[in-house]
């Protein structure tokens, strides 16, 4: 499968293969994985003779769009961040934990400076910042660490249904250890209901975990209020601030946050590094996930990757300086995108609250359009690894399900990410392509025809064949 019998396509290598994925003993899903190089070719194979070079230049897609299933879009690193990291990848290669020589001292100084930069962004003390390998590790450390430390007296944790997979999975694994977890539902607009949160507290609750900004629908939770509620009941408050850090002002003392997860690559820093803020006053105790030489206050053993930590620090400092400018610009671009799409195309739903949101993450559902076809049609702007043809699961996102989106709307939702480096041209291009393909797909859709004729789709009785 994949090789032609006629003249060979350029380049001549298999361009697609069928993969069988076993979902359960009696169901398997066949997925056609199409090679990226082949997808990029604008020529249909066999149309150009083998002797001529590939006529169409290979054009990279622009990173603005992605299917849901988490924050798939990778944001580029800021050049200022790379500039700060390079000395520590070349000349200054010492281990920051070596106390006995100059290489170690420079590395340690750089690491401590980075720690201070991260702490300044969130209003913390630098001793409260622990470097980790990313927000996933930070989330695991916070949830499992706090739960296990206090497990003799407290066995209950509260979280929400729209949390990131790593938080939900950590909670699930704690359930097997004997903890009980309350997964709070969210309102239709994606926000947590504070009355329900208050009602969920039990005398043995040790931790509440609510993410600040949701990575799929962009809603901003009422962190101030949740912090107050938790502090009043002496329960630790953890927030996954990976999407919020550097984009909206965060202050751990103002918001009464006890633990916060930070991710490097969401704020234009390097991948593979993150941080966890652990409050010292009043002290939050954690059982460490990783045992070893006792680095990072004993909470996270292992050599701190100096270049990555320096990059994270630089990213935080740049984010603090650019926060206002970026926020204003991103809001304008988001407004432009949404207004243009909604004015040209009817029956588009924005998922998540309109007001309490971060503008750079927009999730739109296009009614009467098949979502996977739309994504394939938008491949110039789509991130190829997020496309449906290579993903094993065709399930719509659990976040959209939690906010009560209908199945069909959940399947046809697209998440647009706008960042520091997004240009107006990219937004206009995306909007134009989106409108064009939505109109085209709707023209082909029998459901759309029926809606135009005034038929209420919910009243139709579909016959089984």
């Amino acid at each position: 499968h994949g090789t032609s019998t006629g003249p060979k396509p350029i380049p001549s290598q298999p361009h697609s293969m069928t993969i069988s994925l076993w979902l359960s003993p009696c169901h398997h899903l066949s997925v056609e994985a199409i090679s990226l190089a082949y997808l990029r070719q604008e020529n249909v194979p066999n149309s150009a003779p083998a002797a001529m070079p590939t006529a169409k230049p290979i054009m990279k897609p622009i990173f603005i769009l992605s299917k849901q299933l988490g924050w798939v879009v990778c944001v580029p690193q800021d050049p200022r961040v790379l500039d700060s990291m390079l000395p520590y990848l070349t000349a200054y290669y010492g281990n920051p934990h070596s106390r006995t020589h100059a290489y170690g001292w420079e590395s340690e100084a750089a690491m401590e400076k980075a720690r201070r930069q991260v702490a300044d962004l969130i209003g913390a003390d630098s001793r409260e910042i622990i470097f980790t390998s990313g927000a996933t590790e930070s989330n695991n450390m916070a949830i499992k660490g706090v739960a296990r430390f206090y497990k003799s007296r407290k066995k209950h944790i509260i979280t929400t249904q729209t949390e990131h997979k790593c938080v939900l999975d950590s909670c699930r694994s704690l359930e097997t250890e004997g903890f009980h977890i309350t997964y709070l539902p969210v309102k239709k607009n994606g926000l947590v209901d504070l009355k329900e949160l208050e009602a969920a507290f039990q005398p043995d609750t040790s931790l509440v975990s609510v993410m600040t900004v949701n990575n799929e629908i962009g809603v901003k939770q009422p962190i101030h209020d949740i912090g107050e509620i938790c502090r009043a009941r002496n329960v630790f408050f953890h927030t996954d601030a990976a999407q919020a850090i550097g984009k909206i002002p965060m202050d751990v003392n103002n918001m009464k946050i006890d633990l916060m997860s930070i991710s490097g690559h969401k704020i234009y820093g390097p991948k593979g590094v993150g941080a966890l803020y652990v409050r010292r006053r009043p002290r939050v105790r954690l059982e460490p996930l990783q045992s070893g030489g006792g680095q990072e206050r004993g909470l996270r053993s292992g050599t701190v990757p100096t270049p990555l930590a320096v990059g994270l620090g630089a990213a935080c400092e740049v984010a603090q300086q650019e926060m206002e400018y970026d926020h204003k610009r991103i809001s304008q671009l988001a407004e432009r995108l949404v207004t243009k799409i909604m004015s040209e195309v009817p029956d588009v739903v924005m998922n998540g609250d309109q007001k309490h949101r971060y503008p750079g993450c927009i999730n739109l559902s296009f009614a009467y359009v098949e979502g996977e076809s739309l994504l394939m049609a938008l491949k110039d702007v789509a991130l190829s690894s997020g496309s449906a043809c290579t993903s094993a699961s065709l399930e719509p996102s659990y976040v959209l399900r939690a906010i009560g989106t209908d199945e069909d709307l959940a399947h046809s939702s697209i998440r647009f990410g706008i960042g520091r480096f997004t240009t107006e041209e990219e937004v206009d291009y995306t909007v134009q392509k989106c409108i064009q393909h939505v109109k085209r797909l709707r023209e082909m859709s029998p459901l759309w025809e029926m809606v135009q004729d005034g038929i209420d789709l919910k009243s139709i009785k579909w016959t089984q064949h």
Binding site: K56, D380, T422
Partner: protein
């Protein structure tokens, strides 16, 4: 003092913009040019000489960062983004709905005639 620092500011501004044009990455190039223009515009009414000196030093440091990053970008440059191409050779609007997905068809399907003229125009641009 005022005259020389004005000339100095303009010199730096032009140098920053000239250097930023050389970024091979679309996002960095557009961001740098936009940010430089906006930053200089934002600070154009400052009169305190100490503040001006501080800002100029920051600009000089940023110029060095840009110079280094432009060089590195050139060493590791990749293909241009779809948006950087002129509108006529960007992926064409489909007149026939099926041609958009033509490239995904199995290779033994005979090619559609509409794609033949497209390759000829693309040749002209290479």
């Amino acid at each position: 003092m005022a005259a020389s620092s004005r000339a100095q500011v303009l010199r730096l501004y032009r140098a920053l913009l000239r250097e930023s044009q050389r970024f091979s990455c679309y996002g960095y190039r557009t961001y740098a040019i936009r940010r430089i223009k906006d930053a200089f515009r934002e600070n154009k009414n400052i009169t305190d000489s100490e503040k001006i000196e501080e800002l100029l030093n920051k600009a000089k440091a940023n110029l060095q960062v840009i110079q280094r990053q432009v060089t590195i970008g050139e060493m590791y440059a990749t293909e241009k983004l779809v948006i950087e191409y002129p509108i006529d050779i960007q992926p064409r609007k489909a007149s026939n709905p099926e041609t958009t997905l033509a490239h995904l068809q199995h290779p033994t399907v005979p090619p559609r005639t509409e794609t033949a003229p497209r390759t000829e125009t693309a040749h002209a641009h290479v």
